[in-house]
Amino acid sequence: MTSAGALSAQVAVVGAATAGIGWESRQNVAEIMAEAAHRALADAGLSVRDVDGLFAVTPYYWMPSVTLADQLGIQPKVTDSTNIGGASVVAHVGHAVRAIVSGQCEVAVIAYASTQRTDAGRLVTGADLLPYERPYGPLFPISGYAMVTQRHMHEYGTTREQLAKVTVAASEWASLNPEALKRGPLAVADVVASPLVSDPLRKLDICLVTDGGGAIVLTTRDRARRSGKRAVSVLGTGESHSHCYMSNMRSYTETAGVQSGRAAFEMAGLGPKDVDVVQIYDAFTIMVVLGLEDLGFCAKGEGGAMIDEGIGPGSRLPVNTTGGGLRYCHPGMFGIFLLVEAVRQLRGECGERQVADARTALAHGFGGVLAGNATVILGRDR
């Protein structure tokens, strides 16, 4: 059996792009996914003819990677539509690494898109509630995250203000990101005065509802070297899920990010102290607190204190440098944007929001109510 460490730095991300980020779309989901794929391939100096591995997810199609293949006009050798919620495409990176290293495919595209804002004005999802939940009217997924937040505040004393600071930091990053849809400044007072939706979560604890898509391209180290682009290596990957439904959450304060993070760090041979820039899926403010704790950036219960130390521009540990799902965009499943930004930061393409000398980046996706978890660690080639 090959150890995970042998897979580290064998595969590179050579392309990354977004498409269709906005409030209103004239293209459909398959078209936006394909556009993102084409842009990411162009960014890599490759074409759609080179693609032999296709990984995709979206709430819109029964067989997302198959739909995307039609749109692109290709017949891949490896196909994967695995859906573990918003963490899906982060998990796809681990799958793609293994497919490429084993020789099943050489050029893999991972893509996502949604036009939920145009279509519904709210989250479009195929997620279901249990028969033991539906009669009680929880908002999915908001009430689940609200109950997680309530419990975390109870167990660890996490404060209303600490949660608000997650949104404030996101607004500071978004103001430096020309692609961000909400670029205006926010103060703690704005967040705590925004309307309650599902206590203790308020409107500004909750992500935007937008359209958009993105894609990345992965290939072998050798091929990446030949492309002449500054390659970004996949150092570590991990995935896990601990439950599907709110009723089956063994813990309301600890996630399977503990497992996925540990797997990714072990594969990379690195630890949290080695990471220069972090992307944690922030559909709700509490997710950043939980992510920092469960990935080992601080001890359990100290996420709030870490937020107090700062995660915004100029902080010791920059988190969600796009403005995240809270302020950048949020087309339903944010995973692809975590990956695209991690790549852009490592390539030094981020302009005003660039983290100086970023060499190692971590992206962590959550799906459902903290159900699906996937972690990827990327490193800049020296």
């Binding site: 028969p131 033991y132 009669p135 908002l139 609200a146 599902s198 709110m246 009723s247």
Partner: protein, 138 residues
């Protein structure tokens, strides 16, 4: 009659291992599944025990008492029934029998809700031979 047009609480699907949970509720009895092989209660109802895989699953009477593990107060809803109920409390209750179930906490001031608060079951008739277990401050 206006009551005929009033939206009703969404009812659970009962073509699954949980049918007894709802039908016993109509008799004002709260039951939870218990594996007779490994002896553990579990939630939610499944034909086999999620701890040991045994198909020997039975129902045991629960006391109907427990404590709030966590909760939220829902302030808005798109559902035709729950839209008429906002604000309402959704909570996870740690039953004294060792399982954690979702419910609405009713007959209790929303501002009194807190983690750890003791609660007791009551039953809302739902027709069709079932009832919906709810909880209130004990």
């Amino acid at each position: 009659m206006p009551s005929e047009r009033a939206p009703e609480r969404p009812l659970p699907e009962t073509r699954n291992a949980g049918a007894t949970f709802w039908s016993k509720a109509a008799e004002s009895v709260l039951v939870v599944p218990k594996c007779t092989e490994c002896g553990r209660t579990f939630w939610y109802p499944r034909p086999r025990c999620p701890n040991c895989g045994s198909e020997h699953v039975d129902w045991v009477h629960a006391s109907g008492k427990g404590a709030v593990h966590t909760f939220t107060i829902v302030r808005q809803s798109a559902d035709p029934y729950f839209r008429t109920k906002v604000p309402y409390a959704v909570a996870m209750i740690d039953l004294d029998e060792g399982v954690r179930i979702m419910t609405n906490v009713v007959d209790t001031p929303l501002e009194a809700l807190m983690v750890g608060m003791r609660v007791e079951v009551l039953f809302e008739p739902a027709g069709g031979g079932i009832a919906i277990p709810l909880f209130r401050r004990a």
